[in-house]
Symmetry: C2
Subunit: 296 residues, 2 copies
């Protein structure tokens, strides 16, 4: 049985990727578009997808926060984003109605998680987490092949971690100050050091607080009981691969042997880099479309 | 259609409750037994259930840690508990084989969550959390009517929270020191103050750290994106109801308006006491049995 053709859309803060595909080895079209105003961006996306034929479903993985509650009036909308003009923008209802196919809508990081789980660094695993560390910090949690959600999607990047002894820097999150995002995202690193993460040497002392905050996030994610593997992506991780062994070491120390399960004990295979690169999100949108088909 | 008759077992650290029921208004039998050695306790449970007829499934909600991975050799076992004699005890395989009915096995706190979601303080909600604050701190998370799990069950009571400024007390958790359980469970309160929680006056300064740690746990649980309501039970909460308004206030302050969703904004209905009392766990076991029937 050949996999059905799906239209996938990754809607990002700076660019969008629309793909027509049934998997990583069957990408029929792939178009990148800049993210500008909502009206111009959605019109450009529609101009692309209008030309496609034969797709059975539509999957959309979007920056957020977004509303994923199908019973809510604002379902399918980007809700309270600070991105100028985008708060309150309807994405999934509009595109779902235009193309008349089953449509699934979720966060960009859930999309990346689903892509990595199907074809990437967590291939074959039903339960995983994808953590992006970039302009913000986001977590996509998948259990039994489905996104973990309910009231809304995960916002675990905004948990308040235990701090390193003697470190009382206030962090940069406008809501929480020293939450994980306020301590370890790209803008936090730049604010604390005056240097962008990609230019900060590996032996700079500021990395210690970044590593500790990220390990605390992974400690928490592990204790949800869900992931069999944690995939860490985003600009800060991709640009500074020396962070991986340090985060793994800090996570192991923090857990203190509490979760006595082989998957966690082997921390080198428990915390890994992504495998799909810039296609994780778009391919995740394909998986979302497949799930829309299944749950129709 | 009348609900099927289910055999339910809550296996607790000090006592077990076996019930034959189809719901809270149809409890045919209810037997309490002390939890002693594994051999004596399980034999006593079997002597009770052997006398029951006509149940279609078996649900077991157990103290832990437990193995809920059906593909693992130790599925259905209590795994690494410090409770003398119980580590490595097979519960669910043994009872499931003895009675030959569909059997579901999960944590005691997931059981309580399912009971409160079906018939109690979260009735009608598909997504909720149950937090017990007693000898330990446990979290049961339910999304779309199902327990949130994967690698294992939740252990979120062991996250390491941000601390109150100036508070560097080391906590009592043998694994993590000042995790939430090490700061706010009954034994932690007693260790810090020399007084048991039930005898500690409401204006004792030690409650400040307890409230803060519990609010940080609720902050984290909220940011998983799952619960539409958080039910807080266990001896420390039930014995000290003044904690509820204080934990709600601290949670609201900690979130800082970040999750702009009505369910969370109305913190008085977001964080609530249980409604089923000592029957939450046993009735949760009935729900687990019903789920075993459905997924057969």
């Amino acid at each position: 049985m050949s996999a059905p053709l799906i239209a996938g859309l990754e809607l990002g803060g700076t660019k969008c990727v629309a793909i027509l595909a049934s998997g990583p080895d069957a990408i029929h079209e792939r178009v990148e578009l800049p993210t500008t105003s909502p009206a111009a961006t959605l019109a450009a996306i529609e101009a692309v997808i209008d030309g496609w034929r034969g797709f059975a479903a539509l999957g959309i993985a979007s920056f957020g926060p977004i509303s994923i509650n199908r019973h809510a009036a604002d379902y399918g909308h980007i809700t309270s984003t600070p991105k100028p003009g985008w708060a309150g923008t309807d994405v999934a209802r509009r595109l779902g109605a235009r193309y008349g196919v089953p449509t699934e809508f979720h966060s960009d990081v859930v999309g990346a998680a689903l892509g990595e789980a199907r074809w990437g660094a967590a291939a074959g695993l039903t339960d995983l987490a994808y953590v992006t560390v970039g302009t913000g910090i986001g977590v996509g949690l998948i259990a039994h092949d489905r996104p973990v959600d309910g009231l809304t999607h995960s916002e675990l990047g905004h948990i308040r971690p235990q701090r390193l002894p003697g470190d009382d820097w206030g962090g940069t999150c406008p809501f929480h100050g020293a939450c994980v995002e306020g301590l370890a995202a790209g803008p936090a690193i730049a604010a604390r050091t005056g240097v962008k993460g990609q230019d900060l040497p590996a032996d700079h002392e500021a990395w210690e607080g970044v590593v500790h905050a990220l390990a605390q996030l992974l400690h928490t994610i592990t204790l949800t009981g869900v992931p069999r593997r944690i995939v860490m992506g985003g600009g800060v991780m991709v640009g500074n691969p020396f962070l991986f062994p340090r985060v793994r070491h800090s996570l192991r120390q923090s857990l203190g042997g509490y979760i006595a399960i082989p998957e966690v004990a082997d921390v080198d295979t428990y915390v890994v880099a992504p495998a799909l690169g810039h296609n994780a999100g778009p391919l995740g949108a394909i998986v979302l479309g497949q799930q829309a088909l299944l749950s129709r």
